[in-house]
Symmetry: C2
Subunit: 267 residues, 2 copies
């Protein structure tokens, strides 16, 4: 019963990855090897291997005898990621403009138009059915850039976005910018497309920073020293055998957890 085709460690890697993306493992939370091994009902060494791969992807940080932690993005991190995205997605846009077929460009345009009609919810929200940024990254032909954008940077931003809405009006503006970008691509103007994409992301950066500033303002001095780290007895527990008492005192949704531990630990 070896699952499908991959190794246990591979599956564990995927599952932990999903746990982090879904917010079940909150940013900055501790990653406990034994807890995870019990949850997945596999050996600790196997979990260990998966965690080391996460470490390689810089999704968890670790130092010798300390507990591993999910990365917690500071504002500086977010700015750095957006700076990177700005130039790399600009490049991807330029390359895609040169690489895409006429049919693919027509399809892209049609999909963008359809998305606009289908509702205003899918302008610049990662993971939505139509996501221009993903489409461009995939189409650019540079596999390394695609991986960087869609697997290393974008997911981190998804993580971050969960807890920060958009500025009002930004959505419509983003749509407009998307439209201009796609039109430049369709006109086979690589330099313009790159330039527009860069401007687009730069504006999104400013919007996000404004949102964050407003948030910080609103929260006021509720918890300025930020008790991150050094927290007592609040670590993500391994779901007591009954599967009931989940640690739900976090402001994140810890669903998708309970169903994982329905085994009686008969050993």
């Amino acid at each position: 019963m070896p699952g499908e085709q991959s190794t246990l460690a591979e599956q564990a890697f995927e599952r932990i990855y999903e746990l982090i993306l879904s917010g079940a493992l909150p940013l900055g939370s501790e990653v406990n090897e034994v807890s995870l091994s019990q949850r997945f009902d596999i050996s600790r060494g196997t979990v260990r291997e998966a965690v080391r791969r996460l470490q390689g992807l810089r999704l968890v940080t670790r130092e010798p005898y300390m507990r591993a932690c999910v990365v917690s993005l500071s504002q500086k991190d977010v700015v750095e990621i957006f700076q990177l995205r700005e130039v790399v997605e600009g490049m991807a846009c330029r390359l895609a403009t040169k690489a895409m077929s006429d049919e693919a460009l027509d399809r892209l345009m049609a999909d963008l138009e359809r998305a606009r009609r289908n509702g205003a919810r899918s302008a610049d929200i990662p993971g939505e059915p139509f996501d221009l940024h993903i489409r461009v990254a995939v189409a650019c032909g540079n596999e390394r850039a695609r991986q960087l954008l869609t697997e290393e940077l974008y997911h981190l931003l998804r993580l971050y976005r969960r807890r920060s809405g958009d500025l009002p009006g930004r959505r419509e503006q983003a749509f407009d910018e998307h439209w201009q970008i796609v039109r430049a691509m369709h006109n086979r103007d690589p330099d313009l497309a790159e330039s527009l994409m860069r401007s687009h992301i730069a504006r999104a950066t400013e919007s996000l920073l404004a949102t964050l500033a407003a948030e910080r303002e609103a929260e006021g001095a509720s918890a300025p020293p930020r008790p991150l780290r050094r927290r007592r007895r609040t670590r993500v527990v391994a779901a007591s055998p009954a599967g009931a008492g989940l640690a739900a005192e976090q402001p994140h949704e810890s669903a998708a957890f309970a169903k994982e531990s329905e085994r009686a630990k008969a050993r």
Copy 2:
């Protein structure tokens, strides 16, 4: 006797990394866990952990029950890396132009001038005492970009560069371009600096591609199908207990190996 301060797995990671960078583990060669564990005189599980981290950095590729392999860069890979470098280093140059202090810029200029006098060998060769690209990446202030440039992309190129000289005359041209870049930075012209850096790398890309094409031409049809993979009985063996019979049939330098296995396995 726990070494200095880090874990065994950490040290193993570093050592394997060095092995790959030094060419002792040639590109595309197989990475044998037991062989390495015997060489380092540590457990296989520990080596395994290190290899998984290398995998996370995409320096080795692996599929379920197959042997792990050091990446072998195709020409497409190199082009992709240079495309990425072009925009990311351009960004780094722009940010550094804005972030560096006057003193740091003066020092940078002085070092460049000194490097020019000290010999023509250090124009654009990674790892040399003065390396403008590293200096810019470090000074740009974007930690993520620095890591991408100096630890993920640059080392791969070092790997590749080992076996490809430069085009004649390229070195002087590179020096000139470096000089222009630094002058733009010194004049606090971020956009010009970014543009110059991008052009510089684009030119370097063309130079490298020309070199590769010439090489390919010179080799002719010596080994067109490229027997990489599926080679018989030639794998890097684990140094017989006497420490003598090293597998030296590879056209790469396998030095720095012998000295690692002087322990009698007294156990």
